[in-house]
């Protein structure tokens, strides 16, 4: 299991639209929101590094997203990985 916590920054006015939009991405859940600054923490679940990176690239490419960078990366010790 690979989980990453990602900081996403959007214009505060677009927060609701961004939450709805980000939640449609596979493996992505929006967890914490700071309405004042437009900052969100999303958690992405993905199979391996390639998928995690592709997922983050996809988040960066969403409308309104000014910044999306990884903050926290947890990965299951065994098993997977290309």
């Amino acid at each position: 299991m690979n989980l990453s916590g990602i900081l996403v920054v959007v214009p505060p006015a677009r927060l609701d639209a961004a939450i709805t939009d980000l939640s449609t991405l596979p493996g992505v859940e929006v967890h914490h929101v700071d309405p004042a600054t437009g900052r969100l923490i999303v958690v992405q679940e993905a199979d391996g590094v390639e998928a995690e990176m592709a997922g983050l690239v996809a988040i960066k490419a969403r409308p309104h997203v000014r910044l999306a960078e990884m903050v926290y990366h947890y990965f299951a010790p065994e098993g997977e990985e290309s």
């Binding site: 299991m1 989980l3 990453s4 916590g5 990602i6 900081l7 859940e29 967890h31 914490h32 700071d34 900052r39 923490i41 999303v42 958690v43 679940e45 590094v49 390639e50 995690e52 990176m53 592709a54 983050l56 690239v57 000014r66 910044l67 960078e69 990884m70 903050v71 926290y72 990366h73 947890y74 990965f75 299951a76 010790p77 990985e81 290309s82």
Partner: protein, 914 residues
């Protein structure tokens, strides 16, 4: 807990930790839950392995494995963020194809260059290595052996490699891959300031009103710094961002002004800017008069190619011939005040770095041709942009620079450095900032960024270059050799005064049989060096022995004779230095898999196999001409060694590394807090190798402008790296500035105290008039450097420019996590960015496969006309990372003649439908 609830639990814990790391409000209960999820994990601070930004991270281990990483909230560089490459920091250790035992080419139980790889013991690997090294060393002397090192070396690795080669084997053939990325920046620092590395710091991003990127796609190459620029741009509305580039890239998205220039157009634009500053009287004359002088150098310096066509393919010969004589085109002729069509013998190839002082009037005369019309004509990079629109952009750029009220930061990376006139174009940026008096002060400065995590800390500061010694000293300076010999306790004249081969030189030496033993460490030169077909063939077909130490199978491993499995980043103790002089260290966190060992251990074990009698006798050194040395030979220093108390039977490990002083630095050490040490364990020793060697190395810089802190200080819980010079435990933000830099005295204001090239002749734009060196203590040099045309340009046969570079998410996915595909497999996976009209003209559309061919090679790629890199007509872009497709087969191996750094950014190709 069921796996589903466990997963939900973990997710909310990850979210809570991430939120806390970047300072988003979270409740105590949620935080407590995150703590529970992390129960039993040990967190420790470390550094990201992947770029010169130098982000701090926290690494969690449990059960002997890394289980999580996070951005370090206390790290001033990244404040809790990591970029996409951060995904690899933990994962990189656990790829399925990690190398876990030595592999040697064998046939019938013996080494055979034509044999397949067979797993062998370390003993067998070292035995063969020793045999092969001795053979090459006996036949060719110190010039016949080489190490290609890395800007990803830890400080200690670089130090051991440099000392082993230079003091032990008396060979200067050690050069890092950093030659390919930073050498031009280094040479410019030394020529302008007399000392390497930036005066500014990242903190300036938040203080800048104008941020100008010159050949630096920071959005992709330095994402965390880019996020800081983005924040600044959005927070302070008056901030302007300019992206000067040869094609539209991701950094353009944020830019207020995007200027698409032609390759080498930067040389003309910067002279136009300087001319404008003078014309508008925007020069800070007080600063310039007190702290600067004007200088220039020769222009007939060649292009760093081979001077002979002996090894060139037929198709290469026309370009290669320009190494000795070039015909000026119109733009170059105007920029150099000469006549178009003039044939210029490249007479100053051997003295490309020579320079002399000129007057302000001469400086102005040099700039005179660089009018807006001329600069725009030379530099306009998009044929579809109207000339007037382009000119307006240059004027807008000049307006920003000339505005005395705006704090101005210029940033650059490979667009400047990987340039046939890379040193010049770096120097031109200092020219602008020095004319403005805006350098090395809060929010103002010309800032050279680095690509690799320790290009600064190791390659440059330790001096793992063919011409360098620690702390900015150089091998061909007798005083520097003397200091180093004293520091290393070597007999006088042990050190070799002749600079060795740089990275392209070493590869060329393999091709012509000059180098017969090569050890590659922490890098992949057969992938990353231009004109690759030559070197791949040389590796496999010449009589030589190539050792590659790495953690994954790379292309270089594939063409080697012996592959040594290396421990990775957090499997060893280490230290890196980033682009703002910040030295950061980490403890070993976990053990390397299988038989993988640290590079330091490999070198120390190898050193044990050579006695002083083997290396410190008289050695041939063809071409050595130095008044203090016998011609063509390094003298026997064994008698002098004996007088110093050494025995010829002592080995290099004892003499150079496990010295009585170093043995006093005991392992275990409380600073380790219970962490292991793979090097010490494998050696079976009780001295703390990494600490002892760091302290030994640091002696060279302390008191000499390069002060590093004591080893233990970097591990203190509240320290997140320190920017040198660190004097009395205090780091330095701005160099050369009174009140900031401990080396600048009260009342001086500024003092550009670097000692290199600080006494130069006097002359005019056309040459030296008085050869007597005039000392220039404390001064910086404002260089006039003219426009020079790229040596290879599109013509009727090869009608497109090719630029190569990195793309964010592909960083290292090849060399770090994937198996190496067959060498000749032409899997068309890599992408060629091109303009839709250029594609259409060739019958191509998006996702078609195309042949791309230069004078040097031919590969297949997939065409993209819409990606984030939008090419102007006439130019194509390819990423060089892809192991399945060697873009470097196409690239010209011209280098900057001063810095010897390769120009990966401009050569000519043709594209046809596959």
């Amino acid at each position: 807990m069921t796996s589903l609830t466990r997963r939900a639990f973990l997710k909310s814990s990850v979210a809570a930790s991430a939120a806390a790391t970047v300072g988003l409000p979270v409740s105590k209960a949620v935080l407590a839950q995150a703590k529970t999820a992390e129960a039993g994990w040990a967190w420790d601070k470390a550094v990201c392995r992947f770029c010169g930004t130098g982000c701090g991270i926290q690494v969690a281990t449990a059960g002997g494995k890394i289980v999580a990483t996070k951005g370090d909230p206390a790290a001033p560089v990244n404040r809790g963020l990591n970029c996409i490459k951060g995904y690899f920091n933990g994962k990189i250790l656990y790829g399925a194809d990690r190398l876990t035992q030595p592999l040697m080419r064998m046939k019938d139980g013996k080494f055979d260059k034509k044999g397949p790889f067979v797993p062998v013991s370390w003993q067998a690997a070292f035995d063969e290595m020793e045999r092969q090294f001795r053979k090459a060393y006996a036949e060719k002397g110190p010039a016949g052996v080489a190490i290609i090192g890395s800007g990803q070396y830890t400080i200690q690795e670089g130090y051991v490699a440099a000392k082993l080669m230079k003091a032990g084997f008396r060979s200067n053939n050690i050069d890092p891959n950093a030659r390919h990325c930073m050498a031009s920046a280094v040479a410019a620092f030394l020529q302008v300031f007399g000392i390497d590395e930036p005066a500014n710091v990242y903190d300036d991003i938040e203080l800048a009103d104008s941020v100008v990127l010159w050949g630096a796609n920071m959005a992709e190459a330095h994402p965390i710094l880019w996020s800081r620029i983005t924040d600044r741009r959005l927070a302070a509305k008056s901030t302007k961002v300019v992206n000067i580039t040869t094609y539209r890239n991701m950094s353009s998205d944020l830019a207020d002004l995007e200027i698409v220039i032609a390759p080498s157009g930067d040389l003309a634009v910067q002279n136009y800017l300087a001319r404008e500053l003078l014309a508008r009287n925007a020069v800070n004359w007080d600063f310039v008069k007190k702290h600067c002088i004007f200088a220039t150098g020769p222009t007939d310096i060649g292009y760093g190619m081979r001077p002979t066509s002996k090894f060139a393919y037929d198709a290469e010969k026309d370009i290669q011939a320009k190494e000795l004589e070039n015909t000026l085109d119109e733009a170059e002729a105007i920029g150099q005040r000469r006549k178009a069509g003039e044939k210029v013998a490249q007479k100053s190839r051997a003295s490309a770095g020579a320079h002399w002082q000129i007057t302000l009037e001469e400086f102005k005369r040099g700039l005179e041709p660089y009018t807006l019309d001329y600069a725009a004509k030379v530099a306009k990079g998009d044929p579809d942009e109207p000339m007037e629109a382009f000119k307006a952009k240059l004027v807008a750029l000049a307006d920003l620079y000339a505005d005395m009220k705006r704090n101005t930061m210029s940033f650059w990376t490979m667009g400047f450095n990987q340039h046939q006139r890379g040193v010049w174009v770096n120097e031109q940026n200092y020219m602008i900032h020095l004319l403005l008096g805006k350098h090395g002060t809060p929010g103002n400065g010309a800032f050279s960024l680095t690509g690799q995590p320790s290009a600064c800390g190791t390659a440059r500061e330790v001096g793992t270059f063919a011409h360098r010694l620690p702390a900015d000293m150089v091998v061909n300076n007798p005083k520097h050799r003397e200091i180093t010999e004293k520091g290393w306790k070597l007999p006088p004249k042990t050190l070799n005064p002749k600079p060795g081969s740089d990275i392209m030189g070493i590869l060329r030496d393999l091709e012509d049989g000059g180098v017969k033993f090569l050890w590659v460490q922490v890098t992949n030169p057969f992938q990353s060096s231009p004109n690759a077909n030559h070197w791949l063939k040389a590796a496999r077909e010449m009589d030589n022995f190539i050792v590659v130490a790495d953690c994954y199978p790379t292309l270089s491993g594939k063409v080697a004779d012996l592959v040594l499995p290396a421990a990775m980043i957090y499997e060893k103790w280490g230290a890196y230095g980033n682009a703002e002089r910040r030295t950061q260290m980490w403890r070993q966190q976990v053990e390397a898999p299988g038989e993988a060992k640290t590079d330091v251990w490999m070198m120390l074990e190898f050193a044990k196999r050579f006695r002083l009698a083997d290396v410190w006798g008289e050695k041939p050194l063809p071409g050595l001409k130095d008044p203090a040395f016998p011609e063509g030979r390094l003298p026997d220093v064994l008698a002098a060694a004996k007088a110093m108390g050494y025995s010829p039977e002592q080995n290099l490990y004892e003499v150079l590394f496990a010295t009585p002083e170093n043995r006093k630095v005991a392992w275990p050490d409380p600073v380790a807090k219970g962490h292991g040490n793979a090097t010490v364990k494998a050696l079976g020793e009780s001295w703390f190798v990494e600490k002892a060697l760091f302290e030994e190395y640091a002696q060279f810089g302390r008191g000499h402008h390069h002060d590093l802190a004591p080893f233990d200080l970097y591990f203190r819980d509240d320290v997140r790296g320190l920017r040198w010079p660190v004097v009395d435990g205090k780091e330095t933000k701005y160099r050369f500035v009174e009140g900031q830099d401990p080396y600048v005295k009260a009342g001086e204001g500024f003092n550009f105290y670097g000692g290199a090239f600080k006494a130069i002749p006097t002359g005019t734009l056309d040459g030296v008039t008085d050869p007597k060196p005039v000392p220039l203590p404390g001064k910086a040099k404002i260089f006039f450097r003219p426009y020079a045309a790229p040596v290879e340009q599109p013509d009727k046969d090869y009608d497109l420019w090719l630029c190569t570079g990195r793309i964010l998410e592909h960083w290292h996915t090849g060399s770090m996590t994937r198996r190496v595909p067959e060498l000749n497999r032409a899997a068309p996976s890599a992408v060629l960015y091109m303009h839709p009209k250029d594609a259409e003209k060739r019958g191509l559309k998006r996702n078609d496969t195309a042949w791309i061919e230069s004078r040097r090679g031919k590969i297949r790629m997939v065409v993209d006309t819409k990606g984030r890199n939008q090419m102007p007509r006439g130019s194509v872009f390819a990423a060089f990372f892809d192991e399945s497709l060697l873009v470097n087969k196409l690239v010209l191996d011209a280098v900057d003649p001063i810095s010897r750094e390769t120009d990966f950014k401009k050569c000519a190709v043709r594209v046809t439908k596959a």
